[in-house]
């Protein structure tokens, strides 16, 4: 911050500074959640070459899960996400075994990944519409006391749930990167990602790695959902608000690059938030997509490229 006292119009300046700072904060908060969501998408693509259209719908399921858990047992979102992570993992694994693996051989076009993408598209429609049947289209909010609490630092007000969500997202993201880089499991995953056949020769159970990767990606989405619902209303189509942003973040960072997706997500949150300074709010999402297109034109492989994928 500038030395406010030196300037005659310091009051105005500092208000503007504060406003910018506030925008940076909210951008980071939004970006953190987006980053974790995108990391799940990128992980799935990096390892299985699957673009999962249903990724954000699992997040939506997590939102409803948290609401139900709170209504039934007064569990807060941290407890809920701990409780949901195992079932989510299993669901993801099942989706892989029952759907994705089956269509892996189908060759619709010269791009073999299209069949899997379409399968996830069908899955997305099923999840969204079933959710609407069960819970209705009306937005639901988590009725907990945490919702409106704020921290105040000077004239800055920091939204607690958002900050906690950000913290959890970044923590999980970093853990994921560490696991991928530094453990045996991570090496097996990266081996399976770079060459399925070669990995199987050196003893990696590729099918299991794939199933587990799918499970982890789905679990991450569910966690994000249960955290996000503390400030974001749940609707059956909530996933659609995020899926395009997730794709954008993943492309920004380089398709299939997990760390790239993290940076891409954070960056996107910041850009979205700060663009309010220059551009009317209604055009906000257009900014993101125009950026996405510019990126596609200038560097389609993303900021970090696809080379060191995971």
């Amino acid at each position: 911050m500038r030395a406010a006292g030196v300037r005659p119009n310091f009051y105005k300046e500092s208000v503007k500074d504060m406003y910018v700072l506030q925008l940076v904060l909210s951008g980071l908060q939004q970006g953190g959640v987006l980053a974790l969501l995108s990391m799940g998408l990128a992980l799935m693509f990096g390892v299985l070459r699957v673009v999962n259209f249903a990724q954000a719908d699992f997040m939506m399921l997590g939102m409803y899960g948290a609401i139900l858990m709170y209504a039934a047992f007064q569990l807060n979102f941290a407890e809920t996400s701990l409780l949901l992570v195992i079932p989510a993992f299993i669901v993801g694994w099942l989706v892989y075994e029952l759907i994705i693996r089956r269509v892996a051989q189908a060759k619709l076009t010269s791009t073999p990944e299209h069949a899997q993408l379409l399968a996830t598209l069908g899955l997305s429609l099923i999840i969204q519409n079933t959710a609407e049947m069960v819970w209705g289209a009306t937005p639901l909010n988590l009725e907990s006391s945490q919702q409106l609490s704020m921290w105040h630092i000077g004239s800055l007000s920091i939204d607690q749930p958002r900050t906690i969500a950000f913290g959890i997202a970044i923590a999980i993201g970093i853990i994921m990167l560490l696991v991928l880089r530094g453990t045996y499991i991570g090496r097996a995953v990266r081996a399976a990602a770079s060459d399925q056949e070669a990995a199987s020769y050196v003893g990696v159970n590729v099918r299991r790695v794939y199933g587990a990767t799918f499970g982890v990606a789905v679990a991450i989405s569910v966690i994000v959902g249960s955290v996000l619902v503390s400030y974001y209303p749940a609707t059956p189509l909530a996933g659609n608000d995020f899926i395009l942003l997730m794709f954008t973040a993943v492309i920004l960072g380089g398709l299939g690059n997990v760390m790239g997706a993290m940076v891409g997500g954070l960056l996107l949150g910041l850009i979205q938030s700060l663009s309010q300074l220059f551009i009317p709010l209604e055009l906000n999402s257009a900014v993101v997509f125009v950026l996405f297109l510019v990126m596609m034109l200038v560097r389609p492989s993303g900021i970090f490229g696809e080379v060191n994928r995971l």
């Binding site: 189908a106 619709l108 099923i126 609407e132 899926i243 125009v290």
Partner: protein, 636 residues
């Protein structure tokens, strides 16, 4: 990108050779005219029956909607199914059609029937821009990139205040208002639109452009090497598909009566044609029609019956239908029904064996004709129209000078200078990693050199794309055979021939002579997926010959790999005939022995440098070459 008209080689067989079967046979289209006419007639009849059955009941709206989606899905199928470029953003074009039709009515009172065409134009322009931006991307990336365009359009439509534009209803406005008193009228218009899209699709499949689309869908690089300007083909397909989608969108506005960004530019609207087409069978003419004809009435009925209590049931059915088709029979309903029908028909008809027998006899006929043909006809290839000055034997065909290339920090080629003269067979040899294949990729335009210059038939090729270089008279093969799967053998060769011939007839003559040249006429009508390795190599050679044309240059990348003695002997004979007829060859091989007997000259590459050039005898004695090869097994 046909850069120069003056150099467009055309290989044409002699016209007077009545003995040769080539001049009398055409290449059958992958879709026969009678089958196309039947399918179009079925659509017309089905549409009319549905319209009259529905009459004035509310069900007529369902009929109209179904026909609109038939048009929309069939339009999407052109770019995704025929060209193989999956888009998830077609609602951009659909929405432009819908908004143009309604906004122009509101602003200047232009009836939707005319306003629609403004939408078509807008969609075509948008598709050109979108195509230029995104079509450099391949496969999944392209699909993902297209998702964002309708979203951007939706944002702007909202920003400009078009959240809810209603279509003025004018019961006495006549046909051009699209909302006349009789609901049947709009159905007829929609039927006309559906037929229009399907007729365009048929015309496309049966044109030379359709052959190029098939090649592009199957293998982009091989298509480019066969002289297909893949970028241009993609953009044409996208623009055509977009314009037709806009027609569907314009009609849709008159059914929904209210146009909102979420509806017409939404992800859902992009996904619908994908769903219907994939459900019915992508890349087929009937697939999108059948998919829409099943799914739209189904979801409309569900909506009408359970809409009040379970509004999302139809969406659920869409999702389940897609998932089921993808997991059970990924090709879609049409191929599935066809295969079942074939099985039933086969088991019932004893004529199958006779059919096979007939096939065999006609094949041996063909082989005989070929034998008669190739021995007498020394030259199937006619001098090109473009290069009107006959190429002197010994004159340089290909000249490359000081070519250098580095990937990252690794210098793969430096200072490579060499020539191939007319009627010369040159072999490039060198150990693994010597840069042979990179050199080929540079000559054929797939990789741009960092420095140096290249000339083919006197034209500088440094900045040309592979298809343009191919059209100058250069046919290449790939280290691992890259043919267009799903096409017949003769169609594969035809793709190459079309790139250099003015019309389809000339091209099909060239294709037949090429396929006879390699002794595969008997296999010509088989799908390539059923050929042996040796046959595949020979077929790829035939395609390269068809591309190169008379006096052209063949680039052969390890073409003897994995072949039996008989197969390689047949290939070498074909090459010697090729030279006799004025062609040149540049061939890569690991082993010197296989080539020593028939090459005029060797060029030896090692670590990206030319270490020796000369006749086989000179090369075998050359100390540098022996050193480079020391420890290497030659003559596998």
């Amino acid at each position: 990108m046909n850069t120069s008209t003056q150099s467009k080689p055309i290989g044409m067989p002699r016209k007077d050779s009545d003995k040769s079967s080539a001049s009398t046979r055409g290449v059958p289209f992958s879709m026969s005219m009678s089958s196309a006419v039947w399918q179009l007639a079925a659509l017309l009849l089905g549409g009319l029956i549905a319209i009259f059955l529905a009459g004035d009941s509310p069900a007529q709206i369902t009929v109209t909607l179904t026909l609109i989606y038939i048009a929309y899905a069939s339009a999407w199928n052109i770019v995704a199914g025929f060209a193989g470029q999956f888009t998830f953003g077609h609602s951009a074009f659909f929405g432009l059609g819908a908004y143009s039709a309604t906004l122009l009515t509101q602003w200047i009172g232009l009836p939707p029937m005319y306003g629609l065409w403004v939408g078509v134009l807008a969609a075509a322009i948008a598709a050109t821009v979108i195509g230029i931006i995104t079509l450099r991307l391949r496969g999944l990336y392209f699909g993902l990139a297209t998702v964002v365009f309708p979203t951007v359009f939706a944002v702007f439509a909202t920003y400009l205040g078009f959240q809810e534009v209603s279509v003025p209803f004018s019961p006495d406005g006549g046909l051009e208002s699209f909302t006349p008193g009789d609901p049947k009228v709009l159905s007829f218009v929609a039927l006309a639109a559906a037929l229009l899209v399907c007729i365009v699709a048929v015309a496309l499949l049966r044109s030379r452009f359709g052959t190029a689309l098939g090649a592009l869908r199957s293998d982009q690089d091989a298509a480019e090497a066969s002289g297909v300007n893949t970028t241009r083909v993609k953009i044409y397909a996208l623009v055509l598909s977009a314009a037709l989608s806009a027609i569907a969108g314009g009609l849709y506005a008159s059914v929904s009566l209210v146009v909102t960004p979420v509806d017409v530019f939404g992800l859902q609207m992009s996904v619908k044609p994908v769903l219907m087409t994939v459900f019915g069978g992508i890349g087929t003419l009937a697939g999108p029609v059948l998919g829409a004809a099943i799914l739209v009435p189904l979801s409309e009925t569900l909506n009408a019956t359970f809409g009040a209590t379970l509004p999302s049931l139809s969406g659920l059915v869409y999702g389940a239908a897609l998932l089921l088709v993808i997991t059970l029979f990924p090709g879609g309903l049409v191929p599935f029904i066809l295969s079942v029908a074939k099985r039933v028909y086969r088991s019932g008809a004893p004529s199958a064996a006779a059919e096979v027998a007939a096939g065999v006899s006609s094949r041996s006929d063909a082989t005989e004709q070929v034998k008669g043909g190739t021995e007498e006809d020394a030259s199937h290839w006619m001098p090109s129209q473009g290069r009107d000055t006959p190429v002197e034997p010994g004159a340089p065909i290909l000249t490359i000078a000081q070519i250098a290339k580095a990937f990252g920090g690794t210098k793969v080629l430096h200072d490579v200078t060499m020539q191939v003269a007319s009627r010369e067979i040159v072999g490039i040899i060198g150990p693994n990693g010597a840069g042979k294949t990179t050199l080929f990729n540079i000559i054929s335009g797939f990789v741009k050199p960092d420095a140096g210059s290249m000339q083919l038939h006197g034209t500088k090729t440094n900045d040309l794309r592979p298809s343009a270089i191919a059209a100058l008279g250069l046919g290449r093969t790939f280290q691992t055979v890259r043919l267009f799967s799903g096409m017949t053998a003769i169609e594969n060769v035809l793709v190459g021939a079309l790139a250099s011939c003015a019309d389809r007839e000339a091209a099909s003559r060239v294709a037949w002579s090429a396929i006879e040249e390699v002794g595969l006429a008997g296999r010509a009508l088989r799908k390539v997926d059923g050929l042996t390795t040796g046959e595949l190599r020979r077929l790829e050679l035939a395609r390269a010959m068809a591309i190169a044309g008379q006096g052209g240059l063949l680039l052969l990348d390890e073409f003897l790999g994995g072949l039996t003695k008989e197969d390689s002997a047949a290939l070498l004979e074909a090459l010697i005939r090729w030279r006799k007829n004025g062609g040149s060859v540049l061939a890569i091989e690991h082993t010197m022995r296989a080539m020593a007997d028939f090459v005029d000259r060797f060029v030896v590459l090692n670590f990206g440098k030319v270490i020796a050039q000369g006749s086989p005898e000179e090369i075998l004695k050359n100390q540098d070459v022996i050193k480079a090869y020391l420890g290497d097994k030659w003559g596998a």
